[in-house]
């Protein structure tokens, strides 16, 4: 297995249109794949051009996302998250 690059989702809770699900904020996952750049939807939503922004598929363990409430800690959740929502991180304890 190649080394995982871990990223943590920002915990911000701004009002308005964002594409980062609330249940993933503050959670740490690893890059599943990089998807290239897409216009920032938070700008598109308000009729602006949309700055090209890298989009990544990030994989989280269910243990990381739901803690003890996870149905099966080994299962995973993948989501597409824009780079400005992500910061470098250490591997979480749960994985």
């Amino acid at each position: 297995m190649t080394e995982r690059t871990y990223l943590r989702v920002r915990e911000d809770m701004p009002p308005g249109h964002v594409r980062t699900p609330a249940y993933l904020r503050g959670k740490t996952g690893w890059i599943e794949r990089e998807l290239g750049s897409f216009p920032n939807p938070e700008e598109l939503a308000y009729r602006h051009a949309g700055t090209p922004t890298p989009l990544l598929r990030v994989r989280f363990s269910m243990a990381e996302v739901w803690g003890d409430a996870a149905e099966n800690p080994q299962d995973t959740l993948d989501a597409e998250i824009y780079a400005h929502w992500l910061a470098p991180a250490e591997a979480p304890h749960a994985t």
């Binding site: 249940y23 938070e42 598109l44 939503a45 009729r47």
Partner: protein, 101 residues
């Protein structure tokens, strides 16, 4: 809404009515013409809030958002919409009578 508690997944389904298909088509056409983006559609849907989710059907929410986006884009004005909706209502009580074609 990911992760919130909810009951069983409903298994009822329905065939789309013509007016629902038209809403879908208007969205695809108006967004491909550059009058708004899918994110603009979603932004208005989200701003409508939880109550709309409970009280309006899927395509009712969509036409509401499509309309809001088209007014914001300047495709037509609120006054033009108001005049047109009054005109449509005056044609008759059913969809078949009120549709112009």
């Amino acid at each position: 809404m990911g992760g919130t508690a909810a009951g069983p997944v409903p298994d009822a389904s329905h065939d789309f009515a013509l007016w629902e298909k038209r809403v879908d088509a208007l969205l695809v056409i108006a967004s491909s013409e550059g009058h708004f983006t899918v994110d603009g559609l979603r932004r208005v849907l989200e701003d409508m809030g939880e109550e709309a989710f409970e009280t309006m059907s899927y395509y009712e929410r969509w036409i509401s958002s499509v309309n809001q986006n088209l007014i914001e884009a300047g495709v037509y004005t609120t006054a033009e919409l108001a005049t047109k909706m009054t005109e449509v209502a005056a044609r008759g009580p059913t969809y078949g009578e009120a549709a112009s074609d």
